[in-house]
Subunit: 236 residues, 2 copies
């Protein structure tokens, strides 16, 4: 009982590494066959272990899936945060950069993208632990708006008013970004940010899932056009 956590034992190191290797192999299989066809037995096989050995590391297939989902959210989240947070760039450039970075990530990891933004895996119920990582991308985008948008621009412009339920929902989101103390982002900007976020992932999903086949595929130019239009709508 009570091992030092500064110097790990060999067992602990081995355990940490195998936990990682299992996840990596699962990710490779995900990329090959998709989430619904992922199987513990085949992950074990590929690692040269017997399937029951995996249960020392993940108590069930569902837990392994959850780990993959969290990793995927963190991966896009990180990519988005980095591009959105570039201090040296203008707000507009940060917006464009973040959107492009997200799309690039999605195209490089289509099955991981599908895992988190596609249809839910049947029978799988996402645990609470996925909520935090899942919020990183939208929060990065909203944070960008907070830093960037001059309130008059954000509040004004064309489009309907934000009030009632929608304003209340926006206030909840504002609380997540700025902390419960004060709401630094006007609700109009938040709602427009949410719609831009939606539009962005709609574009990526349609591109990846083949809805533009025969029309706007390849979708580079449509994507860039949409980014520019969204940037204007956001006052960036």
């Amino acid at each position: 009982v009570g091992q030092g956590n500064a110097s790990q034992t060999a067992r602990e190191r081995a355990r940490a590494e195998l936990t990682r290797e299992i996840k990596e192999e699962a990710r490779r299989q995900l990329a090959r066959v998709g989430a619904a066809a992922l199987s513990l037995r085949s992950v074990a096989r590929e690692l040269g272990m017997v399937s029951s050995a995996l249960y020392r590391y993940y108590p069930s297939k569902e837990d392994l899936l959850t780990a993959l989902i969290i990793d995927a959210y963190n991966a896009v989240g990180e990519v988005a945060e980095e591009a959105a947070g570039l201090a040296s760039a203008s707000p507009r450039e940060r917006w464009l950069g973040a959107c492009r970075a997200i799309r690039d990530w999605a195209r490089a990891h289509p099955h991981e993208y599908a895992l988190i933004y596609g249809s839910p895996v049947p029978g799988y119920q996402a645990p609470e632990a996925t909520i935090g990582p899942g919020g990183r991308v939208p929060l990065a985008l909203v944070g960008l708006l907070r830093d960037a948008a001059p309130p008059e621009v954000a509040r004004g412009g064309a489009g309907p008013r934000v009030d009632g339920v929608l304003a209340a929902q926006a206030a909840v989101v504002a609380g997540l970004v700025t902390g419960p103390a004060g709401a630094a982002v006007p609700p109009e900007a938040l709602v427009r940010g949410a719609l831009a976020w939606t539009q962005l992932f709609g574009l990526i999903s349609f591109e990846l899932f083949g809805q533009y086949a025969g029309s706007f595929d390849p979708a580079e130019e449509l994507f860039e056009f949409a980014l520019a239009q969204m940037a204007s709508a956001l006052g960036l």
Copy 2:
């Protein structure tokens, strides 16, 4: 050889009906367990048949899936065309009506929606026969734009120019709507229509797949806000 096709034989009637019943039962199972978990054996079981009997009607599971996909595309397509084509309504009302009708359909048939607009079923390759039905919704929306948009409004407005590859792609789409002879819809309107179409399905997907959980869920108000904003952007 050569049976009259005016009066079907009893065999033919039975065959047509069973083909329909199999599809209906498959649709029910789709709604319960999702596309990836759909199984021929369980469809047969539910119909009181032996699993091998299904092969008289669909040569493989893939063919049954294809039939479901085509049906789903036709179902949304029909709903969209009806709402978009209402002669008695203003263009704006037709736009709003079509979007709401599509969302209502999606919420009533989430698994069918996921089947056609969610992540692709692993290992399934959509055959050409799905392309036509898959185009009905976008064509209905573009048709609405053609009928409605005064060219000046559609061509002008804020936003970047449409040229190069994007203009060429738009021209292809225009050919699909109006026939190869003349392009009655200006490319700017087409591109904006494509983005509105994307936005619409982005909204529905995020709502159905749970991305708004904890923020804009329930999504009624966000949806209505977005519709109004899109209508303005489209000059409706």
